[in-house]
Symmetry: C3
Subunit: 139 residues, 3 copies
């Protein structure tokens, strides 16, 4: 058994779900392992990592509207606004959705279901350069 670590950079275009399945699968394939465990870790407190439906595009719009209801931009609600009104909601959205993923690698493929894609969820209004740390254990 052996391990590999790495970083993937993702440039976002403001608040939205960015699919990263292909970039992640390419990094995994380059390590040449057949069986193991992949871990992804988002190194930010205002972006997150999510596995969701990759088929119907309406799903992503529905997720965005729903999370805006649960963690609204509402200047009256928060004490923390160092970086503007989308700062604190971005932290709360990251709490709701999570910032790390662990996915088994079986028979040379990530064990994702048929309809599962990996997404980086940008929670700030403006574009950001995001960094995901990766760890792969396997053989």
């Amino acid at each position: 058994m052996r391990q590999a670590t790495g970083l993937i950079g993702i440039d976002t275009h403001g608040r939205s779900l960015v699919e990263v399945t292909r970039a992640v699968a390419q990094w995994v394939a380059a390590q040449g392992m057949d069986e193991g465990l992949l871990t992804l870790f988002c190194r930010h407190t205002s972006a997150s990592l999510l596995i969701q439906e990759n088929a119907a595009p309406e799903v992503r719009g529905d997720i965005e509207r729903w999370i805006e209801r649960l963690a609204p931009e509402d200047p009256a609600a928060y004490a923390h606004d160092d970086e503007g009104p989308d700062d604190m909601p971005a932290h709360l959205r990251a709490i709701l959705t999570g910032i790390h993923l662990s996915i088994p690698l079986i028979d040379g493929r990530l064990a994702l279901g048929t309809w599962q894609g990996i997404y980086l969820f940008e929670h700030r209004r403006r574009p950001h350069a995001r960094s995901i740390a990766l760890h792969l254990l396997g053989e």
Copy 2:
């Protein structure tokens, strides 16, 4: 050190929390390891994995009512309804609760607390055949 991977199939009976602690512990025991790390990954976007109180049955009813408030079935709220009014809420419930778990194995036992059980949370109204991918690293 070595690793093992596998799949567990769970037949659900529609929306509910299904305890899988025993099935998971049996799979772990069959690998014959004393110390390590177990990872569980739910291969679906409308079911999830959760660790919760395994003693009081009222807890499961309270969780169900609470999550229905946070991610309601409300046809007016969602654009995505390819598989019916419980389709999009199922995705949102999966986001809230998470789809993967990592649990250390110490002294031959999963490091679960006294009151912790592992549950598959079925979010669709109808029964489904669900698949959990497992990875165990250890010795």
Copy 3:
């Protein structure tokens, strides 16, 4: 490659976010590894583990007020109250925030971002002795 497991005990002072970054980093450093994967697992159903902003103290107050809105203490809302009105909300808060974390170790350091701290989130009103299980794989 090798692995290490352990337990860290944290005494909380009732409902609040307790930073544990230093205690965790010290445990990791004591294992003498440069590259690997750290997993933290909270052995309770009414406390959780969270990575959040470690700079602005207002963030922690905003998180507390926000989560009280999403999982309120409301005796009329829950059937389960074996340990008082903060019992069931504590379970729900733990579901929202998660109870396990996986963080790559790269070049001798946890791959946390600049503003990321690790927190134990105590959800009960009274002080509790909490236990976090740790697993480190690496070399």
